[in-house]
Structure formats: C-alpha cells, structure tokens
Symmetry: C7
Subunit: 90 residues, 7 copies
C-alpha cells in the first residue's frame, strides 16, 4: 500500500470563490489537511495558484473533484510525495 | 470545519493611520493574533503594505472590515493557510 | 556489504500514468520507501521528472523495472547515497 | 489590547551622537529593549540608519521622542510586529 | 596522528560501472563509509562526478585504488577534512 | 543602564601588526571578548578590515583606544547591538 | 590572555605534497585540530587553497612553519577568531 503525504498542484481558478474560500473547501476534506494557497498571477478572469496540501494521508480524487466543482482546473501536478506504508503520524 | 491559520494580504493604505496603528488595530481583533506589517513602497498619498497575520484561528471577515474602516483597500490575498480541523494550538 | 539510502533519478515519462500514480507505484515497492516526484518540464507527449527515493535500504533493480513497466525511461542517475553497512535506521 | 514586539525604523541621524550612543539612548528606555542599529549610508552631514528594536513590549512614543531629541528624524516605519495580547514572554 | 573525516573528490568515470555501482564499491571499503555521488556532466564516453565520502576514519589509498580499478581517474581533491586525533565518533 | 553586546567596526589598519595580532590585542581587553576579524581588501600600505566583537558587555572606549594604539583608524561603526539592561549571560 | 579559535588562511602550495597530505601535516600539530582545505584554483605548478583551521587553541607560529616547510606560502590571513580567555571547550 502507499500513502500520499504531500501534493503541490498548479491550479487555474476564477476570481470567485476567492483564495481563502478555495483553500477552505479543500481543507474541509479531511481532519488533518493543511492547505497553503499562493496566488502567483492575477489575470482579468482567472488567478494562477500553487496549492500545497499536506496530511498524513491525502485523497487525491476528492481534492481534484473539489477543485473542479469550484470552477478550477488542475493545470499540472508539480510535486507528489508518497510513502510506501500505511498511514501513521507524519 | 476548517480553521484559517495564516493570511498574507497585499493592502494599500493611506499614510494615516500609520503602519503601527494599522497593525495594532488588526492585532486587537483577537487574543493570539500576531501581525507583521511591512511597508513595501511609499507614494504621495498611499503606502503599499504586506500584512502577515497568524493565529490559531483567524476571522477573515473582521480583518477585512478593520482594514476598510481605516481607509485601506485589500488589493489581493497573496497566501492563505487553512487547516481542516477545529482550532487548537498552532 | 553496502546499502543504498537515497537515489535521485532523472526520468522521462509519458503523461499517463500521471505523476501521482507513477510515484505511488515506486513507493509500493517497500514499506519504508519515501518518493518525491517533481515535474520539471511538460512536453507534448512526455514529462521530464526528477524522482527522489529514500529508504533505509533501496532496491535499485526493482525501481528501474517499475519505471520501465510504466513506459518511463531512466535518463540518468543524478545522485546516489550509499552506506558501507548493513541496513538499520536511517 | 495589543503589544508592540518589534519595530524596524528607517532613521536619518546626524553624525553626533554616534551610532553607539544613538542605540544606547534607545536601549535605555526599557529593561528588556534590544536595539540593533545598522549604518546603511554615510553622507556629509547625516547617516541613514536602520534601527531594529525588540522587546516584550515596546513604547513607540518614547522611542520616537528619543530619536527626535538627538536630532534624528524618523523617515519611515519599515516593519512592525504587534500581538493581540497582554505583554508576556517574547 | 591524524584522521581523515571527509573527502570531496572530482572523478572522471566511464559510463560503466554506473553511478550506483561506483558509489557502492567505495562504500564497501569500510563499515561506516557514507558515499554521495553526484553526476555533474555526461559526455559521450565519460561522466564527471563529485564524490563526497565521510566516515570516522577514511583510508584514502584504498579509495584511490578502488576508483582506478573501475576505470575512473581522480581529477582533483577538492576538499579534505582532517582531525588531529585518533578516530572516535564523528 | 545599557549594555553593548556587539560591535561591527570598519577599520583601516597597517600591515603590521598583522590580522592575528590585531585581533588578539582587542580580545585581551576582556575575559569573554570574542573577536572575528575579516580582511576585506589589501592595499600597498593598509588593509581594510571588518572587526566583529561580541561579549556580554563591551567597553567601546578601550576598544577604540586599542585600535588607535596599533596605528589603526576606525572608519565607521557599521553595526551596534545594545540591550537596555545590566550585563548578564549573552 | 587570548586564545586563537579559528584561522582562515589563503595559501599557495605546490602540487606535492597533495591537498590531503598538506592538511594532515597541519592537523598533526595538535590533538583537537580540525583542518578543512579547499582547492580553489589549480595552475601549472601551484594550487590556491583556503585552509580553515579550528581548535580550542591554535598555535599560529607552528602552523605557519609547517606550511612553509612543505613549500607553501601564506598569501594572507583572511579571517581570525580570537577569544579573550584561557583555553576551554570550543
């Protein structure tokens, strides 16, 4: 088994929901999720963001769904950290 | 539930209230608020500032109101950190 | 005897399996494997990635086989760390 | 209530009192004051300095008065750190 | 007496044995040897590598012999750390 | 009262006494003095040096006298750190 | 009294004795001497090196003699650290 510990995602999002609401929606997916969202560039209709998500065990499918449900599009996965073990303390 | 741990805000403010008074007004919003304000650029009538606010749990709405009540305008949210959990120790 | 503690591999991979699935396949090779995959460059059909793998003891042959079985090609070994001892705690 | 923990001040001072005497006068304002003064530029009659002052609780008004009483002028507040709490250990 | 604690060697090696096998051969020289090999540049027939070797006590002669026996040539010693004492814990 | 904890001095010195002797003379001024002297530039007759002096309590007057007695001239005080308290542990 | 804790020396040396032998000769001067020698530049007949020597108490005269006895010339003292106290633990 393997466990996803960290994801760095390059995400294009609309201005609304704003950066805070966007991060909050992802953080609500799990008790120990830590989400850091940086706005890299602001265009007329969109914002390029880098979202770093860490937890003892991340559920990528639900994160991807949540991003899409808010009008965001996952541009690329920039970094992943995966451990070959069952979830335990980070 | 989710908890906001850290906000980095790009704020344009008038010269008065000064940087210290501005930071103090935000810090007074909560017992554990830590506010660091850096003046990035000084123009004739305004100052561009970056305000970093950290706490075990931040209330964004009250922070935004406080900034506006002092004549500041929130230019952008540059970074947010949100945890998917109830507030506890930082 | 010697033990491989860390490998930094320069790997060219197709878009599918994606970066997460790719890292997961390597991490599943051993209980204590930690895999960090960074996507360095995205081209039309391929992605250049740097994969850092750490463990108390890594099995290079199985890692290489796993990369090839997913359509990846090992461009180069950029860094290795080897200890002249039997495997124990990292 | 709020407590000022750190100030970074951009101060223009005459050559006399010198940098050491200038910093000492500010440090004497409080038992736990730590003052670091860097001379950034020396001109014919003045010196541009950056003064970093830290304590569990700083009194900005007295600092400003002290700077002016020695012929210095506070060019700008470059950074402030304020905590929303009563003074306790740093 | 003196003890060699660390060597940084600039070594030109053929493609075979590969970087991993090369590092392993050096690490096998002593129980506590830690070898980190970085490939700096890859040419048609050779690879420029930097090899960092650390231990409580390194045997330079055997390291040099091992490098030569694999077709490598020691270009230069870039750094050495030597302690004026008998070998004990690093 | 205030205590000088750290001085960074820009000092022009003749070649003799050399850098080591120069630093030693300053260090001898107090039991806990730590002196780090960096030679920044060597000219025909002089050397530009940066001297960092730290202690629980520094005596600036004696330091200045010592520098002058060896033919050095204090070009500028680049940094001072002063604490608003009686001398205790650093 | 004063104690020399650290010396950074700019030394020009011939190719033989090599960097390792050169550092070893200095390290043998005292039980706790730690010598790090970096080769900065290699010319036809000489090597420019930076030698960092640390100990609880260094003997500069013997270090200088040792360098000269191996054909090296002390180009400059780049840094010295001296403490105004009797030798004790670093």
């Amino acid at each position: 088994m393997s466990t996803v510990k960290r994801l760095v995602l390059d995400v294009l999002k609309p201005h609304q929901p704003n950066a805070l609401e966007f991060a909050q929606a992802i953080a609500r997916l799990g008790e120990g999720y830590r989400v850091r969202l940086n706005v890299e560039e602001v265009d007329e209709k969109t914002e390029s963001t880098i979202i770093v998500i860490e937890s003892t065990s991340l559920d990528f499918s639900r994160i991807e769904e949540t991003i899409q449900s808010m009008g965001g599009s996952l541009h690329s996965i920039d970094e992943v950290e995966v451990w070959g073990s069952t979830p335990d303390t980070l």
